[in-house]
């Protein structure tokens, strides 16, 4: 029976519900994203709000048949991923992406794996935050069926590392017009495919490219977690 299965899960978001309960948004490999109610976990005898935090791998057992399940068991499955400082902002960013782009009850086991790996990479080091985010963004778009292709042009030919290219939604890459402000270099495309490492220049271009693509699917309302990065960078 479904209620006897233990699922791996991460909490994407939690908020207080009535006095001592939490309303969780879970991300699981086999059920996708779904809401669940953790009853009586703040204070009192069943207090395990410490385990029920984002970025903590969990094992959960779910009960109930409604849209909002009830968390029958929720235990830590290993240590929480120690996200610090900007890594923590990046973690919020990933969670917000999933909350905004992934529909409920739409399972994507591979995406879960990508998410797990991305959190692991974010918790390890501060230097390589951005490439981790770009890889996850691409994995997310692929899983959702949007298929952004960066290793070949719309006409099927391979991009030249020295060339400049523009990305058109639903079409793909094409050689850029002269002075196209949205154009990126062939080397940035290679970096996005994981063929070469990101330099500063590629990082900037890749960020701009992915932001443009994502904003289309996000429907205009920008991601809030970006503000955490922006305002501080201005003051540094």
């Amino acid at each position: 029976m479904e209620r006897d299965i233990l699922h791996s899960a991460f909490i994407l978001h939690r908020r207080p519900y009535s006095n001592t309960s939490l309303l969780l948004e879970l991300f699981t490999p086999r059920l996708g994203r779904l809401p669940a109610l953790a009853k009586g976990v703040l204070g009192g005898k069943r207090n395990n709000s410490a385990a029920l935090q984002p970025f903590q791998p969990l094992l959960v057992r779910l009960a109930g048949r409604g849209e909002v399940r009830v968390l029958a068991v929720g235990e830590a499955d290993g240590e929480a991923l120690p996200l610090k400082a900007r890594g923590l902002y990046c973690g919020f960013y990933l969670n917000e992406l999933l909350m905004r782009l992934l529909g409920r009850d739409d399972p994507h086991p591979r995406l879960y794996q990508h998410y797990f790996e991305a959190l692991g990479a974010l918790s390890r080091g501060i230097d390589e935050l951005e490439p981790v985010l770009r890889r996850f963004e691409i994995a997310l778009l692929r899983e959702l069926g949007y298929q952004p292709e960066f290793d070949r042009l719309a006409d099927g030919s391979a991009p030249d590392p020295q060339g400049r290219y523009a990305y058109r939604l639903e079409e793909g890459l094409a050689p850029a017009q002269l002075h196209d402000p949205g154009a990126v270099s062939g080397r940035t495309l290679q970096a996005l495919c994981g063929e070469v490492d990101f330099g500063d220049h590629e990082r900037r271009e890749a960020r701009r490219l992915m932001r443009g693509i994502l904003s289309h699917y996000l429907g205009g309302r920008p991601l809030k977690s970006r503000e955490l990065f922006q305002s501080r960078i201005g003051n540094k």
Partner: protein
């Protein structure tokens, strides 16, 4: 259409209190009406006045009916230390417990992008100006030990570093009288990492 009976309205209104369901609301209403009308009147007066007049302190943004709260206007408090907390209830908790003599800054929330709360919504520019004016020498970050609380603490620490203000974070650890076997793994690993020389 006839007005609903006052008794029903009262019971309904009482249900807005946390932890009060229909049954308790009914008990409260009957208690006030049958046994303690004076107490009920006093409650009504104070409640009405508090709802009208209590606002936020201009300095620390805790709840008060004055321009400046009692703590901010007290000359005996040390203006060089500033304790940053999430809610006015946290101010009260620290006041009652800690023998803390500095001032406070109440965020009235925490950074939580998914809930739409960013730096601007928290009014962190106000805190930034306060840190920049040079009176504060140490900021104690007493936000909750949730991931949102940690992110908020980190964000403010960057602000404070930019203003050359010393930043400290409240310690994590084992509750007093606690037994290690019952403490969750996360707390325990923080407690070990933050151990102190004896």
């Amino acid at each position: 259409m006839a007005e609903r009976p006052l008794l029903g309205q009262l019971i309904d209104a009482l249900k807005c209190l946390p932890g009060v369901g229909p049954k308790s609301a009914q008990r409260m209403a009957f208690h006030l009406l049958e046994r303690d009308r004076e107490g009920g009147r006093k409650l009504a007066r104070v409640l009405d006045e508090a709802m009208e007049r209590v606002g936020h302190c201009n300095m620390c943004r805790t709840l008060t009916e004055a321009e400046l709260c009692r703590l901010c206007s007290n000359p005996k408090r040390d203006p060089a230390t500033l304790c940053v907390v999430e809610t006015p209830a946290d101010v009260m908790a620290v006041e009652q417990a800690a023998g803390y003599r500095g001032l406070y800054f109440v965020l009235n929330g925490r950074l939580s992008p998914i809930d739409g709360v960013g730096p601007r919504e928290l009014g962190l520019d106000l805190l930034e100006r306060r840190l920049a004016d040079g009176k504060v020498e140490e900021v104690i970050l007493a936000t909750n030990t949730t991931v949102e609380g940690e992110a908020t603490a980190h964000y403010i620490s960057e602000m404070a570093h930019a203003s050359k203000v010393r930043v400290t974070r409240i310690a994590y650890g084992i509750p007093l009288g606690g037994e290690l076997g019952y403490v969750d793994g996360g707390t325990l690993s923080h407690a070990i990492a933050g151990r102190r020389e004896m």
